[in-house]
């Protein structure tokens, strides 16, 4: 019979890398091909779920009025048309159209939810306590601090992602870019403009 080792009591907290490795070892021992599953997810997080996806959607919406209408009516179906399926649990995509008088901005006060397959996994500042606590209560000041000074007459709408409905801002097209090709347009669309903390 195998001896049971005595319980170890540690004085130090394991480093974060040691804790990651410990959890990884547990999943690997579950069987299946955990290494391949993790490599696949690492790849998706860094190469597939990128803001260039959302940028293509925005560029097409600017260039194709019928697509724009479909996108605003049913975001999930419209992005799927472009070969951009969303995760099963994101059952609804609401696309928020910025205009000269309305500005939309997205947050998640409870954690970090975003339409990450379209606009990329969120940056630090989106998940930090400063943004999460303040943007719902003092949006205008927060946006101004972040470099977006909106005219006083612009109505601000803040969208708190508290369920699995996902949001994406459709930024206003800069007047100088009318008539550009969708590829050229997509290149000017930033992640932060699709979160709504920047205008183009």
């Amino acid at each position: 019979m195998e001896a049971i080792p005595p319980k170890q009591v540690f004085q130090r907290t394991a480093s974060i890398e040691e804790r990651v490795n410990a959890v990884q070892a547990v999943l690997q021992e579950q069987g299946g091909d955990a290494a391949a599953g993790l490599a696949d997810l690492d790849h998706s997080a860094q190469q597939e779920w990128v803001p260039q996806n959302g940028a293509r959607v925005v560029a097409r919406a600017w260039s194709d009025p019928a697509f724009r209408a479909r996108l605003l009516a049913d975001g999930r179906a419209a992005v799927a048309e472009m070969g951009l399926p969303m995760p099963k649990h994101h059952r609804h995509l609401v696309v928020l159209e910025n205009t000269a008088t309305v500005h939309n901005v997205i947050c998640c006060t409870l954690c970090s939810c975003t339409a990450f397959t379209l606009i990329g996994l969120p940056p630090d500042w989106y998940k930090d306590f400063e943004y999460r606590s303040r943007v719902v209560r003092e949006a205008r000041t927060v946006l101004k601090e972040m470099g977006l000074d909106l005219p006083p007459e612009t109505e601000i709408r803040v969208w708190d992602t508290t369920a699995d409905t996902r949001y994406m801002v459709l930024p206003m097209q800069p007047a100088a870019t009318v008539g550009w090709s969708p590829e050229r347009l997509a290149a000017i669309v930033t992640r932060d403009s699709m979160i709504g903390v920047a205008r183009l």
Partner: protein, 205 residues
């Protein structure tokens, strides 16, 4: 639960540490931590509501001092222990050091018995519920009044789904609130839209 994670409207935090084109990841362990929880969800070891709630149950000082991906890893590890896939002791032996986990869960709850379908234009009040388990109602809308703008497809009810309690899927409503109603005399004017589960809402005249 009225946990540390429920940050909307909390005061005292300073400027957003904003940089242009901030990366999503800063180190390879962050990428891996993200993939670990995602793999566990993909394999059905736990669901997203359980995962979110495990993070919410972190001791508040740990929650505040940990970065995002440490919170993610802590939630994932807590659930692996709670699901019986590994013991806490074994995790610490593997990591060769202490491995702080989240606190145990309280009870969940099922759909509200009086939950009823709503329509765009309905005036609604958020029920003044205080629950010990998982809930996706940010504290700043509790008891507040808003207007239904639209309806989503149905989703698992998080208050139940995070706790293995039986429940019906239900829609969320996009409810529009005025910031001045949420924090009277102490907010900048804006419209705040929140995705609110049907069980959290009651129609008012």
């Amino acid at each position: 639960m009225d946990g540390m994670h429920d940050l909307g409207g909390k005061q005292g935090f300073g400027r957003v540490r904003y940089t242009l084109n901030a990366p999503a990841f800063h180190a390879s362990w962050e990428v891996r931590a993200n993939s670990l929880y995602a793999l566990a969800v993909r394999r059905g070891l736990f669901n997203m509501d359980e995962y979110r709630h495990a993070i919410e149950r972190m001791e508040p000082r740990h929650y505040l001092s940990a970065g995002y991906y440490e919170r993610s890893l802590t939630g994932c590890a807590t659930l692996l222990v709670e699901k019986g896939l590994v013991t806490h002791e074994e995790l610490e032996r593997r990591a060769q050091g202490r491995f702080p986990l989240a606190a145990p869960a309280a009870e969940g709850r099922s759909n509200h018995p009086a939950s009823q379908p709503l329509r765009a234009g309905d005036r609604v009040r958020v029920r003044a519920d205080y629950v010990p388990g998982h809930v996706r109602m940010p504290g700043y809308i509790r008891g507040k009044t808003g207007v239904v703008v639209s309806e989503s497809p149905t989703y698992p009810f998080p208050d139940a789904h995070a706790h293995g309690v039986a429940s019906q899927d239900e829609p969320t409503y996009d409810v529009r609130f005025r910031s001045e109603d949420l924090w009277p005399g102490s907010a900048e004017p804006a419209l705040v839209h929140v995705a609110v589960f049907q069980s959290y809402l009651e129609r008012i005249a």
